[in-house]
Chain length 540, copies 2
C-alpha cells in the first residue's frame, strides 16, 4: 500500500464517524452502491425509514424561497429544518459519497442560536434566516479543514477563518453544515480524488455526478441540501447542474466575493477569473441568493470583489431575443441533447420569443475553448502538480481526458501572453458584435454535448467554458431526460459522438439547456432564466 | 536636417493654416513666447482684442454646467459659443502650443446643426447640447488624424471612425473642435514630441504644462476649452490639472469606454488599465460629464467597458473620514505643496471632517510605483520604441527622467508576472485594510511633490500612479499657489528635494491636492471632491 493511501482512509473514517449510528443505511442498501451500478437512488432517502414524515416533507416539498418564508414566519424552526437536512445529507453521503466535511454538531448548535435570536427579537436574523446551505470543499469554515481533495493538504490545520462568502451567509442567518466533494485539481468534470474518492450520480450511479462542484450537484439532487454554493471557471457549477438535473448559476466574475477560499493552484494570474455561484432547485432561489450576497457590500470583505450593487429589474413582459448556438462538429450533440435544445427552442418560439440561429456566425467554439485552456495552463511552476507530487498520490483517471492536443507544448512567454489576450479579444468582439447587431438579450445553447456520461469520459467542456472566456453570466436549466424511444429520431449516422453515444447507458439521465446573458447583467440573466424555466416548466 | 524634421514642420504648418488670419496674435506678442520665458499669458486672450466682449464673457464667466443651462434654454446659440471657444483656442495655441488638430470649420457646421435641432424640436439634443468639448490627440474623430506625436504616424490616414467616447459626446449634442498635445509615448509629464513640439504652461511659460494630457491642461486653463477629455494610466489627467491649476478626474478603469482610441504602445496586456477622464473648471462639471457618459450604456459601444450604471448618490451631510498621505522620503514635498496639503487638512478638520494620518501605515509608495512601472514595461517587443525608430526621430528629453533605476533590467518571464501580480495584491491589501479599519471614505494626498516644475524635470509620478495601481478613482483639486514669502516657513534643510526646489522658478505656480476614493465609487468620490472643493473654495 502506497504512503498516501492510509491518509485517505483516515480522512474518510473521520468523516464517516460524524454520521450517527441511527442515520446509517442498512448493509442491504449499501451493498448495492457501486460506480458500476445503474441504480437510481433518488427514492432511498424518503423510503429508508430514517427521516420522519415531517422531515421528508421539509426536505422535499419546497424550494429555498418557500422554506425561508416559513422560517421567517416562525412556522418551522431552524433546528428542525437543519436536523432534517443533516439527516438527509448523511443518507446522501452513504449513497453517492458527496461529502468531504461533516459538522452537524456545530450546525445544530448554530440553528438553536438562530432560533433563539428569532425568539428574542421577534424577527429573522436576515434573508437566509435558519436555512442550511451546503458548500463546496474549497470554501473555508472556521475550525474545518479544506483539503480540496489533495492528499498533501490532509496535514493542514483546520481553517482559522471563514471565507468572505461564508461570513456573508452567516451574517444573514444561514446555517452551514457540510462541505462537498470535488475533483483532484478542480479541473475535471468527475468529482473524484484520492482523499475522499468519487461522487456518484444519484440518478444513475454509473454516471458522473459532474464537477468540479459535483458533490453539491449530487447532494442537492438527493435533497440533502436545499441550496449549495460552488465555483465555476470552466463550467464547474453548470456541469454538475446538468449531470444531476438541478439549476446552477455562474455570475459575472467578482460580483460574489472570492476571498478566503483554498485555491487548487497558484494565485497571481487573473486572466479568466473563477466565479462563485449557487446550485439549487429553482431560478428564484438563485436570484434570492445572488441579491442577498451582493446586497452585503462584498468589497468590504474582499478587495477584489466588484463594488456593484444588485439592481432591481422588472420581469420581462416583452418577447426575448435569444441567440441560439447548437454545436461544434468536433463535439456533436448527442440525441437527447439535440432533442432538448430543439424542443426548448420550439417551445420558446411558440411562446412568442425570438430565437436567432448563430451557429455559422460565432467564433469557432473549439478554438475559443483552447484559448481558455491556455489561460488555465499559464503557471510555469505547475503548482497543482507539486501539490500532487508532495504526497506521491496518483492522478485521478479523468484528468487525462481534460486536455486539448493543441495545448500539449504550451509553455508561454510574456509575448505569447500578449498574443493570447488579443486572441481572446477577437472572440469577445465576435460575440459582442452579434449581440449588438441582433439586439440580443442573451443566448441559449447546450451545457454539454450529452447528458451525464459514464465515469471518466466527460472530456473537455467547450460548451461551458465559453461563458468563462467571455465573462458572461450563464446558468443551467434542467429540462427533459434521455429517453431512447424519443431520442432515436435524433440519432445521426454522419457524426462522430464523443464520448460514444450509448443509449442504454444514459437512459433516464437529465438533460437541459444553458442560458447565457450579457456581462454584468446578472440581474437580467436570472430574469431570462426565469422566463425560460417557466416556458419549459423546468423542475429538479 | 534629419528626415523626420520636415514631417514635423509640415504637420505644424498644416495645423497653423487652420487659424484664420484675423485670429492671429501680433508679432509683438508672439516674440515673447519661449520655453525659457517666465511670462504668465493668462490675460492675453481677453486683452489681445481678438475676442468680442460677449466672447470674453462666454469663455470666462461660466463653468460647463452653467453654459449648458444657457444653451439648453436657448439663451445662447451653440454657434456663438463654439465660435468663441474656437477663437480662444486659436489664441491659446499661439501662446502655449497646446493643439495638434484644428477642425474649426467642421465644428461650426456642427454647431449650426445643433442650433437647427433646437429650433426644430424646441429642446436640446442632449445633456451636452451645443457645448464645445476638446479632446486629447489620442481620441479618434472621423476625418481627423491621430498621430499622437509619433512622426511615423504622420503618414497614417485620417480616422475613418469616431472613438466610442466621441460617439457618446456627439450623441448628446456636443461639438468637437480641437485635439490637444501630448508627450511622445504618452509616458512622460512633459507634453512634448517631434511632430508638434512642446506645450508650455500658461501660468508661466518656463514650466511644464504637465502630461500626458498637457495640451488639455494648458488650453483649459486659458479657457480655450470649457471641458476637455484626457486619459490617465499613471496620472496623465491629474498631473496637468495640477500643473495648470484646473480640476481633473480619473475614474475607475473601464467605466468610461476606451474603445477606438489610437494607442501609443502594444495592446494585449491589461494589468493596469488606462482610464478616460475629464479636465475642467469645477467638480460639478466632472460629475455632469461622468453621469452623461455612463448613462449612455457604454458597453454597447465598447465590449470592454463595464456595464455599471451611474448611481445617484446624495451630497454628504455627515463628516467625511479621509486618510491623509503626505510624502515618501525619496520625493519630499516641496514647500508650497507641503503648505497646501497642511492647509487643506486643517481647513477640512476645522470644517468638521476627520483626517486620519496614514504615512507610517501605508505600503511603501516608492515600491508601489515601481510595481506599476514594471507593468508599463511588460511588452517584450517594446512597441513604442519601434514606432519611434520607424521615423528615426530622437527621444524627447523628458523620457529619460521617467524611469526607475530599479526597473532597468526588467525583462520579465511569465513566472515574474505571477510574482508581480502578487506584489500588487499585497499593496491593494494594505490600502483595503486601512480603509476597512478606519472606515475611510477616501484619502487626501499630494498630486505631486511640487507644483509644475521647469521643463523636463518632472521625473516619476509616484503620487499619482498609486491610484492607477490600486484602480481607485482619484481627482485633482486646484488650491493655493507657490508663494515664496509664505512657503519659506515650509522649507526643510534636512531633505533632498527632487527636482531641486527653486522658489523663484515656481513662484505663482498653482498647487492643489489629490482626492482618492474607493474602487467603483466614482459617484461618491466626486461628492467627496465637491465637499473638499467647497471647503477649500477651489477655483481654476
Amino acid at each position: 500500500m502506497a504512503d498516501w493511501q492510509p491518509i485517505g482512509t483516515q480522512k474518510r473514517t473521520d468523516r464517516d464517524s460524524k454520521i450517527p449510528k441511527e442515520w446509517r443505511l442498512p448493509q442491504s442498501t449499501l451493498k448495492q452502491i457501486s460506480m458500476h451500478s445503474h441504480l437510481n437512488v433518488l427514492d432511498i432517502p424518503s423510503t429508508c425509514g430514517i427521516l420522519t414524515e415531517k422531515e421528508i416533507s421539509l426536505t422535499e416539498r419546497y424550494d429555498a424561497t418557500q422554506l425561508l418564508e416559513m422560517l421567517a414566519k416562525g412556522e418551522v424552526s431552524s433546528y428542525d429544518v437543519t436536523l432534517a437536512f443533516c439527516k438527509r445529507a448523511a443518507i446522501a453521503q452513504q449513497l453517492v459519497n458527496c461529502l468531504t466535511e461533516i459538522f452537524f454538531d456545530q450546525a445544530l448548535a448554530r440553528a438553536k442560536e438562530v432560533d433563539q435570536y428569532f425568539k428574542q427579537n421577534g424577527k429573522p436574523m436576515g434573508p437566509f434566516h435558519g436555512l442550511p446551505i451546503s458548500l463546496k470543499d474549497s470554501f473555508n469554515v472556521k475550525g474545518v479543514q479544506a483539503t480540496i481533495g489533495y492528499v498533501s493538504f490532509a496535514s493542514r490545520e483546520p481553517a482559522s477563518h471563514n471565507s468572505a462568502l461564508v461570513e456573508i451567509l452567516l451574517r444573514h442567518g444561514a446555517v452551514v453544515y457540510v462541505k462537498t466533494n470535488l475533483p483532484q485539481t478542480m479541473m475535471t468534470a468527475d468529482s473524484d480524488n484520492n482523499l475522499f474518492g468519487r461522487t456518484l450520480n444519484p440518478v444513475k450511479l454509473s454516471l458522473t455526478a459532474g464537477g468540479s462542484t459535483g458533490g453539491e450537484g449530487a447532494l442537492i439532487k438527493l435533497r440533502g441540501s436545499i441550496l449549495g454554493v460552488g465555483t465555476d471557471i470552466a463550467g464547474s457549477v453548470r456541469i454538475p447542474a446538468l449531470c444531476d438535473g438541478i439549476f446552477g448559476f455562474k455570475p459575472s466574475a467578482s460580483r460574489v466575493p472570492f476571498a478566503g477560499k483554498t485555491p487548487p493552484g497558484r494565485l497571481g494570474m487573473c486572466a479568466i477569473l473563477p466565479a462563485i455561484g449557487p446550485e439549487g432547485h429553482s431560478v428564484r432561489d438563485m436570484e434570492l441568493w445572488m441579491k442577498t450576497v451582493i446586497d452585503s457590500t462584498p468589497w468590504e470583505l474582499d478587495m477584489n470583489a466588484l463594488d456593484v450593487p444588485w439592481r432591481t429589474v422588472e420581469d420581462y413582459k416583452r418577447p426575448l431575443r435569444l441567440g441560439l448556438i447548437t454545436e461544434h462538429p468536433k463535439r456533436p450533440l448527442h440525441p437527447s441533447t439535440l432533442r432538448a435544445i430543439k424542443t426548448a427552442a420550439k417551445l420558446l418560439t411558440d411562446a412568442g420569443h425570438i430565437i436567432i440561429p448563430l451557429d455559422n456566425l460565432i467564433p469557432d467554439l473549439w478554438e475559443s475553448a483552447i484559448i481558455a485552456w491556455k489561460y488555465f495552463m499559464l503557471d510555469p511552476k505547475k503548482t497543482p502538480e507539486t501539490f500532487i507530487d508532495e504526497a506521491k498520490e496518483p492522478w485521478v483517471p479523468s484528468i487525462a481526458t481534460c486536455t486539448f492536443p493543441e495545448t500539449a507544448n504550451w509553455n508561454p512567454t510574456v509575448d505569447d501572453l500578449f498574443e493570447l489576450n488579443m486572441a481572446r479579444m477577437k472572440v469577445l468582439h465576435g460575440y459582442h458584435s452579434l449581440v449588438i447587431q441582433n439586439k440580443l438579450d442573451g443566448f441559449i445553447m447546450p451545457t454539454y454535448q450529452a447528458t451525464a456520461v459514464p465515469h471518466d469520459t466527460y472530456g473537455v467542456a467547450i460548451y461551458t467554458v465559453l461563458a468563462n472566456l467571455l465573462n458572461y453570466p450563464a446558468g443551467h436549466i434542467p429540462f427533459l431526460k434521455a429517453n431512447k424511444n424519443l431520442d432515436v429520431d435524433y440519432v445521426r449516422k454522419d457524426v462522430a459522438y464523443e464520448p460514444p453515444y450509448d443509449a442504454d447507458a444514459v437512459e433516464g439521465a437529465p438533460t437541459g439547456i444553458q442560458v447565457v446573458g450579457l456581462p454584468l447583467r446578472d440581474e437580467e440573466t436570472l430574469k431570462i432564466m426565469q422566463v425560460v424555466s417557466d416556458v419549459l416548466k423546468a423542475t429538479t
